[in-house]
Symmetry: C2
Subunit: 307 residues, 2 copies
């Protein structure tokens, strides 16, 4: 049994009000698999890189016990590269460079050893590629989580809608939920989106936390108020990885375990933004993670006392 | 012992995407005192109206057991009038008309029967008037809560800063916290504001809930996700009134009772936005209030289960 995470594996160059990086390892599958590895020890990655992705870059994964058999290395080609600059409020950013490179014709290969997949995280990629992965698994995983973004709603909406019919959990941000549903109210948006296929919907609200919708139920969790958001890159992917990593570990899927999964995902995401790229989340101790989760509990827990 | 609420008592004309009202009773003290009256039965109001404010308008208060001895009625003058129009997203509005009328030279008179004040809510008004009320009370109340807005930061900052030194709890929204502190991060903003005088700071984030800061502690509560926000007018005042009404009832001031007070205030505010003006909050049953508070508990409660 295993957890497969598919998504971009990339080089990023990031500029924030606090500084800038050279090319550093990034990508949705990178953040998500690192996050998941803190809770579950059978994480397997599917992705593609060029031969500029060296052994030491791959060791980012292997040090965390992440299986990289499904990470294709294209000789003579270059890895996906993204460069972006965040504005002062850290809530918006400009993309400076996007070089698709190996990603342009990415055909996700599922190694035979990955066919024990029980949990599947489809990180942000074209809906077509996400769908291909589902189809190439011989057995339908117990849980399929899909992350996407407004870009695919703009240019590949029908593919996305088809894919939504095949999954269990969708994670998107509030603006994307509004775009996908055509509803401003997130309650109305959630109702419409849950009719599109997913049984659970997570709406990520950045510094305002996240909402989980399922049937008629809703759960709200805050983000940890931070003195400094250093670099938001990868926070959503880290959240998703921590979320599915937790669920893979506990092995039970229901509204209560989902609530916990959101707390675990949020805790890891709160680390992610404290340093550039994956710098913080490659080196967390068990005590740090447990401490942060307790901070989340303290942040919203109260004992109701009647007036 | 009593709870005094000072603030505007006004006529409002409101336009939202859902419709528009004629002149209806509004104002910070109106919303706050109605909200407080659900939890505490010795609520006393201080304010000023013109002779266009009729006996039936005053009965809005008296029906809720609210003492109106401190509500001055100026013969031959007109009540404060505000008219506003909300945009489609309901998060921003245009003020169409502001007629100060009786409010222009409001001198808050504290009746002798109000000198038993133990809890004081200073609703949004000029900081000078808020300060005058504190000075006219012979005994310093056990708890002073102040609500203000960006307008006073723009035109009466020094008066506001003086007043902040005299209070216990400040309630403002996120943009106002940023303006008052000069810090974008709410954690940093809170640290600076707590150094200005208040021992507790509540940052209201509208549809994203509220944050409570005290010493090094922080508590986060969500807003109830609503399918329809019909009219946001008065939600902040309703929150503040429910907040201090709860505290007056339980009579103990600490971080834990404050958490509960925020839940109670948020629950009443969630009713407020469901109809125009005070329409919803004038007629709540005990069962409705208890049910809504339970919804808040369900919204954010979870039992931590380790991965």
């Amino acid at each position: 049994m295993s957890l497969i995470i598919i998504g971009t594996v990339a080089f990023d160059a990031i500029e924030t009000p606090f500084g800038k990086t050279d090319k550093i390892v990034g990508g949705a599958a990178t953040y998500a698999s690192l996050a998941a590895s803190y809770f579950y020890n059978k994480v397997k990655i599917v992705g593609v890189v060029g031969d500029d992705f060296h052994q030491e870059d791959i060791s980012t994964f292997t040090k965390h016990g992440i299986d990289t058999e499904g990470l294709q290395i294209k000789e003579g080609e270059k890895s996906f590269f993204w460069s972006g600059k965040y504005h002062n409020d850290m809530n918006s950013r400009d993309t400076l460079i996007t070089e698709l490179n190996v990603l342009a014709d990415f055909d996700p290969i599922i190694p035979e050893s990955y066919q024990d997949c029980e949990y599947l995280m489809l990180g942000n990629l074209t809906p077509q590629v996400q769908q291909t992965v589902i189809k190439r698994l011989k057995n339908r995983p117990k849980l399929i989580v899909l992350d996407t973004m407004n870009f695919w709603m703009d240019i590949a909406l029908n593919d996305l809608l088809d894919t939504l019919k095949m999954i269990d959990v969708l994670t998107i941000n509030d603006e994307e939920a509004r775009q996908l549903s055509g509803e401003y109210s997130l309650v109305k948006a959630a109702k419409k989106i849950l009719e599109m296929g997913p049984k659970y919907l997570i709406i990520k609200k950045g510094e305002h936390g996240a909402l989980l919708f399922h049937e008629d139920k809703v759960f709200s969790t805050p983000a940890l108020p931070l003195a400094e958001v250093f670099d938001p890159t990868g926070a959503g992917d880290t959240f998703a990885g921590g979320f599915i990593g937790y669920l893979a570990k506990v092995g039970t899927i229901n509204f209560d375990t989902m609530k916990n999964a959101i707390i675990y995902g949020s805790a890891l995401a709160s680390f992610c933004v404290e340093k550039f790229g994956t710098e913080k989340i490659v080196n967390l101790t068990e005590a740090e993670v447990a401490g942060r989760i307790q901070e989340f509990v303290n942040l919203s827990a109260f004992t109701l006392t009647e007036a």
